[in-house]
């Protein structure tokens, strides 16, 4: 549990800069949710038995969680590791690089969870969720956060410079957002694209959260949760592997 001190360090910084952190992590996705949800939603009939805004809220919850987790683990993580040399300072203390990687991933997932759960709370306030089933979206959001934090941290410890993240964001995250059923049902996609979506984590997050917002248990819950867990676990192992390699030279 030594990693907790790393988590607490990041938490303390977050608390000090809370206004900016909340604004970027919450205002953006909420503006998009209501803008697109009501704007576009007015033109659209219900999708899968839900209003468009409720349909989109489930996707936006997962997307915003993904973005918070990824930004925190990549950009903020890289700033701490590379720019500020905070990781070096921590390594002089009786902590190992494994402790730091664990603390960073759990921290980024926690921050992402806060984004996801706030969006959920707002969606609830606006009456977009119809039953208590929606509360299960809270652990689901943490799982989505964990998967993307772990993958993001791999990018962080592999990065030589800031530009590196553009590749992942532009070539992976943005297309993933388009094919994972965030804005429209992924089943409408041509089969090859749907097949790609199904091996990526965001799709599975949406598949868990959307039925919960609609008010029932998600079909194939354990399959979807399993994929997210697998991303988190494999990402964690790889992040540790590459972090050890980076810090042993």
């Amino acid at each position: 549990m030594r990693w907790v001190s790393v988590w607490r360090r990041n938490m303390l910084v977050w608390r000090k800069l809370i206004a900016a952190a909340m604004l970027s992590n919450l205002a953006d996705p909420l503006i998009m949710l209501f803008g697109l949800g009501y704007g576009l939603g007015a033109l659209l009939p219900s999708i899968e038995g839900m209003s468009y805004i409720a349909f989109f809220a489930a996707g936006q919850l997962c997307t915003a969680t993904m973005f918070t987790a990824s930004f925190e683990s990549m950009f903020s993580g890289f700033a701490r590791m590379h720019g500020q040399k905070t990781w070096d300072a921590i390594l002089y203390a009786p902590l190992t690089i494994d402790d730091i990687v664990t603390g960073e991933i759990v921290w980024a997932a926690s921050k992402a969870w806060l984004t996801g759960s706030t969006i959920l709370g707002v969606a609830g306030l606006f009456g977009l969720a119809s039953s208590w089933w929606v509360l299960l979206a809270l652990p689901a959001a943490f799982l989505v956060g964990l998967a993307f934090s772990a993958v993001g941290l791999i990018m962080c410890v592999l990065a030589k410079g800031w530009d590196f993240f553009s590749f992942y964001m532009t070539l992976v995250m943005t297309p993933m957002m388009m094919i994972s059923g965030v804005f429209f049902p992924a089943e409408q996609l041509p089969a090859p694209l749907l097949a790609i979506a199904k091996v990526l984590p965001l799709y599975h997050g949406v598949q868990i959260v959307r039925p919960l917002v609609a008010g029932g248990p998600p079909p194939d819950l354990w399959l979807h949760a399993g994929v997210l867990l697998a991303y988190a676990a494999a990402g964690y192992a790889l992040a540790i592997h590459f972090a050890r390699r980076r810090f042993s030279s």
């Binding site: 030594r2 001190s5 790393v6 607490r8 360090r9 303390l12 910084v13 000090k16 800069l17 500020q84 040399k85 905070t86 070096d88 300072a89 921590i90 390594l91 002089y92 203390a93 009786p94 902590l95 190992t96 810090f247 042993s248 030279s249």
Partner: protein
């Protein structure tokens, strides 16, 4: 038992061997200096001693713990002042100490009572709430030193503790380091300031190209490796003077347009100086030993 012992330590990066078989023993309570030009392998040696990287061969024992196997246990009782300050810029002075103490498993309640002592030591009393950005280079260095003491370590590693500081700041750091040795702490520092090494270190090792090429007390190293008097001569006619000096001194060296003559007795040399020549007569220092052993070529 030594506070730090390294035996036959080796480390390569790719095809380059950075540390090529180093033996070191630092006794409890002493201030030990590791000297060397840039790229000599000093920082890598420190990292090996701390267990931050694994050696290719050899053993390290730090405060009785085998490293890197039990490096974490050893680091519980060790402080580190790195070459470049890596204080947390988002935190105040006080928060830096509290957060750092947590990495050692101390609660905030346990660290708080120590903060005023640490800040007094660092000459930062009254600066508890200051942001790191607002501190001068010297203050940051002292805070880094205070941070390294947060766990009340038995041994403190310092990588070039005064590089980049003005003389006032440097003297204050020296005074504090002496205080630490008086308290019985063991200090291991790397530096390429010979004056610093001569003033602070009980013993030192000169490193070059991954090897230790000389070891001993500053005085013994000077006595062993170099003549006690030095004459530096430059100005018009220095070339012909250098030729004459060769008959009068056991060792004469030309570097650019300056001639260095070394000897036990430089009176005859002084008498031979005439015309436009300017000279400086001084006692031999550790820097002369260092330059003699590691050469005058630039290291980048």
């Amino acid at each position: 038992m030594s506070a730090l012992a390294a035996r036959a330590l080796r480390k390569s990066y790719g095809a380059t061997e950075v540390v090529c078989g180093i033996d070191l023993a630092v006794e409890p309570g002493e201030c030990f200096g590791l000297l060397g030009p840039n790229g000599a392998g000093k920082t890598t040696t420190l990292k090996l001693c701390l267990g931050l990287i694994e050696p290719d061969a050899g053993d390290v024992e730090l405060l009785g713990e085998p490293v890197p196997r039990r490096a974490r246990q050893a680091r519980m009782r060790v402080g580190v002042v790195p070459q470049f300050d890596n204080l947390d810029p988002d935190f105040t002075v006080e928060e830096n100490l509290i957060v750092y103490g947590r990495y050692f498993g101390f609660s905030e309640q346990a660290i708080r009572p120590r903060i005023s002592t640490l800040l007094e030591f660092a000459g930062l009393t009254g600066r508890e709430g200051a942001k790191i950005m607002t501190l001068s280079g010297g203050m940051k260095r002292r805070l880094t030193l205070a941070r390294a003491l947060v766990n009340d370590p038995q041994l403190v590693f310092m990588d070039e503790p005064t590089t980049g500081l003005d003389p006032q700041a440097r003297h204050l750091i020296w005074e504090r380091l002496r205080r630490l040795t008086q308290e019985g702490k063991t200090l291991v520092l790397t530096t390429h300031f010979m004056e610093e090494a001569e003033r602070l270190c009980d013993r030192l090792a000169i490193m070059d190209r991954g090897r230790i090429i000389a070891q001993g007390t500053p005085r013994a190293l000077i006595a062993e490796h170099i003549e006690p008097q030095v004459l530096e001569v430059h100005g018009n006619g220095y070339e012909s003077w250098a030729e004459r000096a060769k008959a009068l001194a056991p060792r004469v060296e030309r570097v650019g347009d300056t001639v260095y003559a070394y000897g036990d007795d430089v009176e005859p040399l002084l008498k031979s100086i005439s015309g436009d020549l300017s000279y400086l007569h001084r006692r031999a220092s550790l820097e002369d030993v260092f330059l003699k052993l590691t050469g005058r070529d630039l290291r980048d």
